[in-house]
């Protein structure tokens, strides 16, 4: 969803004309926004952990239809490390911090709710 008013686009174009955007190493050394970095580290390492644990937990609960409890838990917990790796990479790759703030905690809460709902269903 791009809702930028046209004015900002013009400004962007102007800056592009006068000073070309830094690329490569120059772009990397231009990272002087500590607040954004702290947010990304928090999103990746801590909230990302909860997201991956909850995704894997949901997979684990779903697998109990086909496998024993300990087998489902082992299989999903093994995959959790792969999920976590991808979540960390995503938290640093995505340009939009807002999207990350919505998706990572939101995803974790949704998966948690769904898996507790499913687990309750299984035990009944």
């Amino acid at each position: 969803m791009k809702l930028d008013p046209p004015l900002t686009c013009v400004i962007h174009q102007d800056t592009n004309l006068t000073t070309p955007k830094p690329r490569g190493r120059a772009a990397l050394s231009a990272t002087n926004n500590p607040a954004a970095i702290v947010q990304r580290v928090l999103l990746a390492v801590l909230l990302g952990y909860f997201l991956s644990a909850e995704i894997a937990g949901l997979v684990g609960v779903s697998l109990t239809r086909f496998l024993d409890l300990s087998e489902s838990a082992t299989l999903s917990a093994m995959f959790a490390f792969i999920i976590y790796t991808l979540v960390i990479l995503w938290a640093f790759a995505d340009r939009s911090l807002i999207r990350l703030w919505v998706c990572i905690p939101g995803g974790a809460i949704s998966c948690y709710s769904l898996s507790t709902y499913l687990a309750a269903g299984v035990s009944i």
């Binding site: 894997a56 087998e71 640093f92």
Partner: protein, 519 residues
């Protein structure tokens, strides 16, 4: 984060590598040594340098001779070719006793009080010896996750992964040749590094991803460990026990059930009760898997009560765990793991060098200096500390007990004090670039030679003796120490000659400049 994925990944690779690289190096270094932990044990515990003949070992004889009748709980670890001592542990008067038994003569052996490879180096590898609340385990876990992230982001930022594979320019500037070495060790060993890191994490699923197991069990009682490992205990009957049934026939039965496999250890439980059990555990030598297989017998009647084999997914997890532990009997693979582990150390160390090399000219700041000193202390420093640990083991008297600190703890203090010393040295020798590296390399070289010499002097097992009497664990350790001494001596020589050249070059310029001025 940035406009292009490559820029974002490049940033992530740089900074996560910089922040967790020191811990990663320590973990990779200790992990590589752990591949040969039992050989290090033999080197550090000279009494255990035995020739073991497997067929002569009788559990019954060992239990009869070394475990008192009134002991209700005991364990006997079977001897193997890599670890040729039978370990006897038994509970008596609320405390455990340990006896090391020579399986050939069935006599007890003197024990050098040391944590050695399996106690110190192996535990350092996965916990950094920070036991409080398992913080060490979590730090290693975080470093391992960063390794996975570093590997994936490293692949993404590479444009020409195939041509980098064949590019090594040792004669170019250090920044260039260390980048080449970083790429070669990274690309060549990439599958191994990914597999070893992931498998290392998977060992601890029950700790690292405990929430996943909790969710899966949901409303059920969480009996994960009981279900997957088959942990099981028999309730005591509170009636006195009869005489112990034949242990050797239990071993024979178990071996038959497991298709001729041998035994890793046997445990006795509640032997003062009529519901006493004997638990027999299958060896991990003949298969990759670090299996959970056990068989339980009634101690009095000798009847088989229960047995356990992991279910398919858990068996896969045990296979992955066994792959990481590399305890199975395969020397070629063990050496390959060692070499690839050292390649991981090279990868991490050269990663630091690339960071430093690309900033040397532009960023002569305090931060740069700190990173350089930190790199020296965490790369050559930990090697010095390890060697000091070996030397301390050979120099300390057998009954050392200083200021109430027992011998095995003094050895660990030596390790950590030597490492702290390396830190102080690295942070104080910053005037000339490379001088801290060169001096620590010299020290590694000297310490390695000293360790070999001390082993020969204190045990008489010099290289000729150890090879001719078949003590290959000791010979291998000595040879690796000497090889390390050569490599580090060469590295120090290269740094010193580069410095000399640099000095001549700059003083030559000065002469020319002065000559021009006088004209």
């Amino acid at each position: 984060m940035f406009d292009s994925l490559r820029d974002s990944m490049s940033w992530l690779h740089t900074w996560s590598g910089l922040i967790l690289g020191s811990i990663l190096f320590a973990v990779f270094w200790m992990g590589s040594l752990t591949v040969f932990d039992r050989e290090i044990d033999r080197w550090m515990m000279p009494e255990s340098r035995l020739q073991f003949v497997p067929d002569q070992f009788s559990l019954e004889a060992v239990v009869a001779k070394f475990i008192p009748q009134e002991s209700s709980r005991w364990q006997v670890v079977f001897p193997t070719s890599r670890s040729p001592v039978a370990g006897v542990y038994y509970l008596i008067d609320e405390g455990y006793e340990r006896v090391d038994v020579d399986p050939n003569t069935l006599s007890s052996l003197a024990v050098t009080e040391t944590m050695a490879g399996t106690g110190f180096i192996f535990r350092f590898h996965y916990s950094l010896h920070i036991r409080w609340n398992e913080v060490g385990l979590w730090i290693v876990g975080l470093a391992a996750m960063s390794m996975l992230v570093l590997l994936v982001s490293g692949v993404i930022i590479h444009k020409k992964i195939f041509s980098d594979f064949f590019t090594f320019r040792p004669k170019k500037k250090l920044a260039r040749s260390s980048l080449d070495l970083h790429n070669i060790s990274g690309v060549l060993a990439l599958p191994f590094h990914f597999a070893i890191t992931l498998s290392g994490l998977i060992i601890y699923i029950a700790i690292y991803f405990a929430p996943v197991i909790d969710r899966t069990y949901g409303e059920h009682t969480n009996t994960f460990l009981q279900d997957s490992a088959g942990i099981w205990q028999r309730e005591p009957a509170h009636t006195p026990a009869g005489p112990l049934s034949s242990l050797d026939s239990m071993i024979e039965q178990s071996s038959d059930i497991w298709g001729g496999s041998s035994i890793v250890y046997v445990r006795g439980w509640n032997l003062d009760d009529s519901n006493g059990t004997i638990e027999v555990r299958r060896t991990r030598l003949d298969d990759v898997s670090l299996n959970f297989d056990w068989i339980s017998f009634d101690a009095d009647s000798g009847e088989l009560i229960d047995q356990h084999t992991a279910k398919p997914v858990t068996a896969a997890q045990r296979w992955i765990t066994g792959f990481h532990f590399i305890q199975f009997d395969h020397w070629a693979l063990r050496w390959l793991f060692f070499v690839l582990g050292i390649a991981g150390c090279v990868l991490i160390a050269t990663g630091f060098l690339v960071w430093l090399g690309t900033r040397r000219k532009t960023h002569k700041t305090a931060g740069f200096q700190t990173v350089e000193s930190l790199t020296v202390a965490s790369v050559t420093g930990i090697i010095i500390a390890t060697l000091a640990f070996f030397i301390g083991n050979r120099l300390l008297p057998v009954d050392a007990n200083w200021l109430g600190i027992i011998r095995s703890d003094i050895e660990q203090w030596i390790f950590f004090l030597a490492w702290a010393g390396a830190f102080i040295h690295a942070f104080s020798r910053t005037a000339k670039p490379g001088i801290a590296w060169a001096e620590q390399c010299c020290l590694i070289s000297a310490f390695s030679v000293l360790a070999v010499g001390l082993n020969a002097m204190t045990t008489g097992d010099h290289l000729f003796n150890s090879i001719s009497t078949g003590k290959f664990a000791v010979a291998g350790m000595d040879l690796m120490l000497m090889f390390g001494a050569l490599v580090t001596a060469y590295a120090a020589h290269k740094i010193y000659s580069a410095q000399r050249k640099h000095q001549q070059h700059s003083s030559g310029n000065l002469d020319k400049f002065q000559a021009e001025q006088s004209n």
